[in-house]
């Protein structure tokens, strides 16, 4: 199921790129925001139950993590959870992206 749902989410991205003037950057922003909104309406978690990594690995899953962390922290700390939840829930991924991104960019040079 991870294969099918993950593949389908990528197909939506491909259609947006081929049929609209949206660039890959626009598609990524759109996907994160869509994932966050769907998550806020309670619609993304069922997809995660169904597809596992097929729903969490594509970028809408990042939006979902941001929102579910926020809602979790609001449950714990009330209002101030709005400020802590999103980045707490995504800390591992963001730190990894910053650190590995930096290291690889320093170590390697572009081809050609």
């Amino acid at each position: 199921m991870a294969f099918v749902i993950g593949g389908l989410i990528c197909v939506i991205g491909q259609l947006l790129m081929d049929l609209t003037p949206l660039t890959p950057a626009h598609v990524l922003v759109l996907f994160v925001v869509s994932g966050a909104i769907l998550s806020g309406m309670g619609l993304y978690q069922p997809l995660v139950e169904l597809a596992g990594a097929g729903a969490t690995v594509p970028l809408p899953g990042f939006g979902h993590s941001l929102v579910s962390g926020t809602l979790e922290d609001i449950g714990k700390y009330g209002f101030w959870g709005i400020f802590s939840g999103a980045l707490r829930a995504t800390a591992t991924g963001l730190s990894a992206a910053i650190a590995f991104g930096f290291i690889m960019a320093v170590l390697f040079n572009p081809k050609g």
Binding site: C10, V29, G40, F62
Partner: protein, 148 residues
């Protein structure tokens, strides 16, 4: 309609005829296959973390970290962008593509130095993604907090 406008219209029609169209069907198939495979790999990694004692939810973080490492590493080797030529959104939409969007411009702009080159260009695409994602999540959280 003046002659000039007519010429312009003819030109536009001609342009639309000869402009290369993306091979949409082929692109979709490759996006589906490569995107699906990357998610399947993610599922295997997540299952591994669950098997060593992480809860399903807590396994998400380390799984992302491993995928991000792979995306960043293969971008450094120049392999990921080769894959991207075939896979299109199949390599852009998964979290490995997020890592690719960080390493590729940072590497490209290294000659601008480590502050304005590597440090700043890392976030050419990742920056907007993080900004709009975080603001949306906070807004959603605020609305849900108001609703109680």
């Amino acid at each position: 309609m003046t002659i000039k406008e007519k010429e312009k219209q003819n030109y536009q029609e001609r342009f639309n005829q000869v402009k290369p169209k993306p091979p949409i069907f082929k692109n979709i198939i490759w996006a589906f296959i490569i995107g699906g495979l990357i998610c399947t790999l993610g599922q295997y990694i997540q299952d591994y973390f669950v098997s060593i004692g992480f809860s399903k939810k807590d396994a998400g973080g380390p799984t992302s970290a491993v995928l991000i490492f792979l995306g960043a590493f293969f971008t450094g080797l120049g392999v990921y962008d080769e894959l991207g030529r075939l896979a299109g959104a199949g390599s852009i939409v998964p979290i490995t593509g997020f890592a690719n969007s960080i390493v590729a411009p940072a590497m490209e702009w290294k000659r601008e130095g480590y502050v304005f080159g590597v440090g700043a260009k890392m976030f050419t695409i990742a920056g907007p993604v993080i900004v709009y994602g975080t603001v949306t999540a906070m807004l959603v959280g605020f609305i849900r907090w108001l609703m109680g």
